[in-house]
């Protein structure tokens, strides 16, 4: 018995010590690193950018397995201007906010739409892009002309995206009713399901929709009036210094034309 008590105490002490160390290894403060300290980054001098590289043209993996896309390019430029390294961390879209709350990410750059619900968990920078939801259907489908036609249909979406909320009847405009929603981890999987004919439509943001339709001859886009939505970068709640810094960089980039050239390069090509 004594032995057990001893072991347990030892283990507990070790655990306490370890957690103590974790807290203690916070970045040391030195005068010339003040600027960096203010951003409350996970890793010194590095902005860890979380993304879901399944959403062309905003983020995707290029042929060499490198992360690329508009969001990534903008964040790299922002990091450049702030004099910091940028590290990309790829994960499922729905995990991004949780990962940032768990202190694993500094910024989410994933074509994330600003919503009231998300604002409860993260703070957003200035919006950098305005998008809408598109419906993608098979080319010979003439039945679906608008969001109202989607009621009661089978719809494939990417889990946790605005398209998912719209199809699940949780949006505010053009709410689809009683649809059978199949949620996939990737937009491309939802598109595959549509191509296989097991769903009637895919609801997804306009730019990926255009990318997917360009790559698949048998699909087409159905446009309908929808609420526009604003993409913005998200940062940990209360990290105002970082928001300000990113906003400043974004404004600068818009002023000197870098932003437009990136739009040209990735989105309007």
């Amino acid at each position: 018995m004594k032995k057990i008590v001893k072991t347990v105490t030892a283990v507990l002490t070790a655990a306490l010590l370890l957690t103590g160390c974790g807290g203690g290894s916070a970045p040391k403060e030195t005068a010339n690193e003040d600027a960096a300290q203010d951003y409350a980054l996970v890793k010194e001098h590095t902005i860890i950018v979380g993304t879901n590289a399944e959403f062309p043209p905003f983020e995707f993996m290029d042929d060499n397995g490198e992360f690329d896309g508009f969001d990534i390019a903008v964040m790299k430029e922002v990091g450049n201007r702030m004099g910091m390294n940028v590290e990309v961390s790829n994960m499922e879209f729905k995990s991004l906010i949780g990962a940032m709350e768990a202190n694993q990410l500094d910024v989410i750059a994933a074509a994330m739409t600003v919503t009231e619900d998300r604002k409860k968990s993260v703070d957003f920078t200035d919006s950098y892009y305005t998008a809408r939801q598109y419906i993608v259907v098979q080319k010979d489908n003439s039945e679906i002309q608008s969001f109202a036609d989607l009621d009661g249909k089978k719809i494939a979406v990417q889990e946790g995206t605005t398209g998912d909320f719209t199809a699940s009847g949780e949006g505010s405009v053009n709410v689809v009713k009683d649809a059978d929603v199949k949620r996939f981890k990737k937009g491309a999987d939802a598109i595959m399901d549509l191509k296989n004919g097991s769903v009637d439509a895919v609801v997804i943001d306009m730019n990926p929709a255009m990318e997917f339709v360009n790559a698949n001859d048998d699909l087409k886009i159905v446009e309908d009036e929808t609420e526009t939505e604003e993409y913005a970068f998200a940062v940990r709640k209360g990290n105002t210094q970082l928001i300000e810094a990113i906003n400043n960089c974004l404004a600068e980039m818009k002023e000197d034309g870098t932003f437009d050239s990136l739009i040209e390069q990735y989105i309007n090509e």
């Binding site: 949780g98 709350e101 494939a156 949780e170 296989n196 004919g197």
Partner: protein, 239 residues
């Protein structure tokens, strides 16, 4: 301390009570149990056939028609087990869903995938169980005038079942946990239900821990049942 408990209760409220999300978890749990139950039944049937096919072909000569048939069966069963054990179940599931079933009959697709997957492991379990029965049993049976099939049926299999059942229970446990990948093909199982809650609440702790606890309880229950069962089987043993 009180603050921590407060946060936990609040989180629990948001994740499971609001919007009746606990129902999602329960429906997910039902899907998990249903899919793994059906898959285990299918797996045992496929496994039994594969095991017998593999065993029959082992010692037959290729000089008679029946011998050749047994040999072909052996080869088929060998390739089946080899391929299924050599590929990850996620890949098998994606192939079944997107290529074989083309997105239709989602539940059937899930059952088939895991049934076929589990069948390969079950086949090896059954084969090992049969081989573990002392060779003298077969010799005794044959020397008393029983045919190969009857010796199998009345002497070998009853003894082999004792070896097989505990390992089969283990396979069932593995299978239940394997079904956690069903979310890849949009099936709302328990893991996917917690995924859904994460995507709506942006909280990870509660859904993930809740999901883990439910899996644990489910498997604990199963383990207890299996232990009792195994003890019963051992009652007649003199050891």
């Amino acid at each position: 301390m009180q603050a921590i408990i407060q946060t936990i209760i609040e989180n629990f409220q948001i994740c499971f009570i609001d919007g009746n999300r606990y129902r999602l978890m329960l429906n997910g749990l039902r899907m998990t149990i249903l899919a793994s139950l059906c898959a285990v039944v299918l797996g045992v049937v496929i496994g039994l056939i594969a095991a017998i096919m593999k065993l029959l072909g082992e010692k037959r000569s290729v000089h008679s028609f029946r011998g050749i048939l047994a040999w072909v069966g052996h080869i088929i069963s060998y390739i089946y087990i080899d391929v299924i054990r050599g590929t990850p179940s996620v890949v098998q599931l994606l192939i079944m869903y997107f290529i074989v079933f083309r997105g239709n009959f989602t539940f059937l697709c899930a059952v088939c995938t895991f049934g076929i997957n589990s069948g390969a492991y079950v086949a090896e379990i059954i084969r090992a169980g049969i081989l573990a029965v002392d060779h003298g049993q077969m010799e005794a049976g044959r020397s008393l005038g029983l045919s190969y099939a009857r010796t199998m049926r009345y002497i070998i299999i009853p003894q082999a079942i004792k070896n097989i059942l505990p390992a089969l229970g283990n396979e069932f446990i593995v299978l239940i946990k394997e079904t956690a990948i069903l979310g890849y093909v949009s099936i709302m199982d328990l893991t996917k239900a917690s995924d859904f809650i994460i995507s709506r609440t942006y909280r990870m702790f509660m859904p993930l821990i809740g999901c883990a606890v439910i899996y644990y309880l489910l498997i604990k229950l199963l383990t207890l049942g299996l232990n009792t069962f195994e003890r019963r089987l051992r009652q007649s043993d003199i050891r």
